[in-house]
Every structure is written in structure tokens, then in C-alpha cells.
Symmetry: C2
Subunit: 327 residues, 2 copies
């Protein structure tokens, strides 16, 4: 398989990404990694057998206007997208601006036929061990129509089916109450579309507290509320982790307690660490495009690479196309 | 002070609320509690000196259409609102349907002059000990205009100022990025209104993960995303608490660890327990109306009573009116 990697997009520069790629490329010697970036910063990976460095000159700002991104043809992201197309890569990964990735990917790689708007999707950990759910859209859009939410439900179901081998994933619509008539017009109308689509296993409205218990598989929502959901979950879990640390540091007794309980808490930390959910796929584009966390560190960028790899291995784009055609 | 209490509105019936009122009324012998409900169920409080039972016949369903609530004049909520007006009470509390409370309160008690739409507001715990922030609207509305968000910012600031003695509370707009141009039209336009209002200490856009760290005082958003924020925070903290419990139960060593660490974790549990945030004020109505959690238990209903009491004691409605008039 071949991967096109934007080495420059993240808030933390190329250094951490270099380390992550170095490890990943050595673990996957049969695959090729096209690493796009400032050549001077990529010295450490220049002699690796399965890494090909593609030079780029500029880096897109995080707050760049999406259309502006189209004009800077020497940016690392622009060249990564070009490399993906030219070398017929299996996937793209970038920690750059969501808006720029969305614009460049949609305009240059195009959308899957029939899809109106791509949406960001990623798996979330839950209370149940080894059980994940996915949420779409996490912020590729700031406003969505009911038809777009319907497509998110379709794409989310296909993603979940193939990634977790479940033929009938349970789909919930994020809302402010569980009854059918809850929420604003967008939710009420989307509810009817989902209810009347036999290809979707729609279980109804779900509130923000529900998905984390692990009782649903696909959470559907617009990009604005999806991003609020993502960031709020991330922030709450992070704050709780800090409070756990503080609780163990309270006094000598609690410190001793930590030594005894460490095993249990290492497990908890590993499961709920959002660095393990480092990448979101831009679903609906005619190619695998993974957006890594803007402020990616080694662990989260590696996690995004893993997501990328799994998606490419399962040939997710072919699966989505086939599933959408058979509808 | 005089309180009008809907004893029947919660999912769990009157039993738990009776216990909570019994304790609260005995702690506040100088205040009068008008308890509205099914007389047969309220036997336990009928002989308490400062409790007056007001009989009601029906209970509004949780999924009742708001306008339908206006027609059932024998419901516990309807009679609670009537009692509030007739007895010139200081506050109302109900665990009933948000929509019904909103409709009855708005139409019978009316709004504070100048306020277009009331919004639900409540304090949230944060990472910093004893530091809270408030969020408005938590779900009284499903759609809001920029002018309504502006009023939420004004009312939220006044609420925070009086409840936490802070003359210049920091106001943040919930958004999907921190830069000025982030989000949809509603956020961009609200941003400008808040930025240009000198009476508001506006610090800009904040993402969902930010408020829990305790760096802002007032989080402003529409009722839909506010409810997603509330429920997601609540769910995440609850799931983390369950995982902490499980971590300590993992094996004999972790169980011993718990005995040592208990002190630290009791403190954590108390701080982040959403039962301590049992009530939200319906801000903008011309009287104190507190909505208790639909599935209130003893602890959360008592917490809602405490919020009610504090708001009445600080004469929050008078403060809001004065502050709005001076603008």
C-alpha cells in the first residue's frame, strides 16, 4: 500500500511526526510512505528504504480561509494531495486545518458519486471494554441539511459494519431528548428520513450522555453539534484523569494506594485516553483522507496512522461505493 | 420566604421529593413551603408546621406538547404556578417537563421586560476546586437568534456576578474553534454583538473542552448545543466514575489500594457528581423558576432546592431587572 503524508500540517511541526513515521514505516516494510515537507526538517527519514521524501515549500496556517488553501500550490498539504493522485496512493493523512483538508480533498479528489457533503468520522471509546461507537460529522461542516444527515447515517453504518464486522449497526440521532418529536426541525425531519430507510438500523434519538455507555454504534449529527460532542467528551475525560492524578497525590496514604491500584488505573487511562483516537476520516471523499489531531503528539499521530492503515486494508472506499450503489 | 413546589413532576414520583422537602423544610423553619400534589401521597408532610399542602389532580406527561400543558388546569405544575402567583412566592421548583415549565412560566408569570426568550442556566463543577462556571441556555430553546444569545450573555453575566461576587465575569461563546471567524453564521454574528457590548467581558470563542478547566465564568450557547454540552459532560463524568469504581475492583491489590486512596476519591466524587447540580434556573422569566432534573433523586432534588433558596435570598430577579435597566 502507498500513503501520502503531510509532514508539516500539525501545530507541533514535523519533529514529532517524523518520529511517528519512522516507527510506523519500519513496522510496515512492505508499504511505501510519501512524506511531504521541508527537506531540511526530514533528514532523519531520508535514508529509510520505504520512505520517499517529496519537497514542499510552505505550510498552510491553521486559520487559513479554505479557498485560500487552493491557491498555495507549494504548501505541504497541496502537494500531499497531488502526490496521492499522481502516485495512486491508498490514503492521505494530515494534521493540518480541517477546512483546508476538506476543500482540497473535495475539489481535487472529488466526492463519492451521490454524496453531497463529506463528514468527519472517528471511533470513540466507551464504558464497555473493546466496544467503540463512531460519530459523524465531527466538524467538517458548520451547518447540515436533513439529506446530509441521512447520508452521514448511511456512511456511518457502512464504516461501522466493515470496521467492526457488524451487519446491522445501531444508529442513533444526537438530540436533546429521546422522544420522536424532540428537538428542532432539522432533527424532526431527519428522524423521519432515518426511520423510513430500511437499510438503516435506526434506534431513534439519543442524548449526549448515552453513546459513552456503549449502547449504540453510530451517532449521527451535524458538524457543529458533533464537534461540541467530541470536544466536550475529550475535555471531560481529560479533566477527570487530572482529578484522578490529584486524588492519588492528596497525601501519603493515597500515594501508597496508588501503588496498589496502579494496574487498574493503567488500564482505565489507556482506554479513555483521547490520544488513542488521533484521527478522523473525511468520509464521502473518493479516497481515504484522515485528519489527524491538530496538536498531534507521537501517540495520537501514530493512532491516526493506524486508523489510516486499517481503512486502506479494508478498502473502505470500495465498500462504501458498493453499498451505496446497492441501495 | 415562600416556595411553591411541584411534588409530582419528576420521573420518580413524589416519594423521593417528599423526603427531600421534609429535610429542607426542617432546616429552614422560618420559610413556608407550598407543596402541590396528590394529597394521598403527601401524608408524611401534612403535619409539618411550615409546609402547606395544595391538592392537585393530574400530572403532566414528560412528553406533553407545551400548549397542551396550558389546558390541564388541575395538573400539579399548573397549580404550582398559580400558587406562586396567588401567594406571592419567592420561587417555584419542578422536576417536570422542561417544555411545560417553560410554557406555563412564560405565559402566566411573564418575562422580564426586554427579554425575548428565557434560557436555562446552571452552575457546573470544574477542575479548579470551588470554581464553577455557568452555561446558558441548556435546552429551554431548540433554536436561537443572535439577539437571544446576546441576552443570554447579559443574563449569564448578571447571574454569575451575584452568585459568585465577581463584577466582571469572563464570557465565552461555545464554538467549534477559537478564532473569530469560526463556526456558522449564528456564531459569527453573535461574536460581533458580544465583542461590541462593553457591559460584557467577552473573551471570545471557546471549544467544548475548555470550560471544565475552570478558565471561563459564563458559557453562552443556543439551547440545542447547550443541552448536548450538558448531557455529554454529565455522561462522560459518570462513565469515568464507573471506570474508577471498576479499576479499584480489578483485583485484591487494587481493592487494598482503594482503602488507602479513599479520602482522595471521596473528594473527587463529591466535586464531579452531577447530582450536586440538580437544578437549572429558567432565566428571563419574571420570577425564580427552577427546573429540577427529571429523574431527580434525594440528592439532586435537594441540590435544586438549595439553588432555589440561594437565588431567592439574593433576590436575583430584582438584580437582573436593575442591571438590564441600567444598560
Amino acid at each position: 500500500m502507498k500513503f501520502a503524508i503531510d509532514m508539516m500540517g500539525g501545530d507541533n511541526g514535523s519533529l514529532i511526526i517524523v518520529e511517528s513515521i519512522l516507527e510506523f514505516a519500519s513496522k510496515h516494510p512492505e508499504d511505501i510512505f510519501y512524506c511531504v515537507g521541508n527537506v531540511e526538517e526530514l533528514g532523519k527519514i531520508k535514508d529509510v528504504k520505504n520512505i520517499i521524501i517529496i519537497p514542499s515549500k510552505t505550510v498552510l496556517r491553521m486559520d487559513i480561509e479554505p479557498m485560500e488553501a487552493l491557491h498555495d500550490k507549494e504548501s505541504s498539504l497541496f502537494i500531499t494531495v497531488d502526490t496521492f493522485l499522481k502516485e495512486q496512493c491508498d490514503a492521505i493523512i494530515s494534521a493540518g486545518s480541517t477546512g483546508a483538508i476538506l476543500t482540497l480533498a473535495t475539489l481535487k479528489i472529488k466526492r463519492i458519486p451521490g454524496i453531497t457533503r463529506p463528514g468527519l468520522i472517528t471511533p470513540f471509546p466507551t464504558y464497555k471494554k473493546n466496544k467503540k461507537f463512531v460519530c459523524i460529522d465531527l466538524g467538517a461542516n458548520t451547518v447540515n441539511t436533513k439529506e446530509e444527515l441521512h447520508q452521514f447515517a448511511q456512511m456511518g453504518s457502512i464504516y461501522y459494519s466493515f470496521m467492526y464486522n457488524d451487519a446491522h449497526p445501531k444508529v442513533g440521532l444526537l438530540n436533546i431528548g429521546t422522544e420522536e418529536e424532540k428537538g428542532n426541525d432539522l432533527r424532526k425531519e431527519t428522524y423521519q428520513l432515518l426511520k423510513n430507510d430500511p437499510s438503516i438500523n435506526f434506534i431513534g434519538n439519543v442524548e449526549g450522555k448515552e453513546p459513552l455507555y456503549g449502547n449504540i454504534d453510530v451517532l449521527v449529527t451535524d458538524g457543529f453539534s458533533g464537534n461540541i460532542f467530541l470536544k466536550t467528551t475529550e475535555g471531560s475525560c481529560k479533566v477527570m484523569s487530572l482529578l484522578i492524578k490529584d486524588a492519588f497525590k492528596k497525601n501519603l496514604l493515597t500515594k501508597i494506594g496508588y501503588l496498589f491500584s496502579k494496574k487498574g488505573f493503567d488500564d482505565l487511562k489507556e482506554r479513555m485516553d483521547y490520544k488513542n483516537v488521533g484521527g478522523a476520516m473525511l468520509m464521502g471523499v473518493n479516497g481515504i483522507v484522515v485528519k489527524a489531531h491538530g496538536n498531534s503528539d507521537f501517540k495520537s499521530f501514530t493512532s491516526a496512522l493506524n486508523i489510516c492503515y486499517d481503512l486502506a486494508k479494508k478498502d473502505i472506499i470500495k465498500q462504501i461505493k458498493e453499498a451505496l450503489q446497492s441501495k
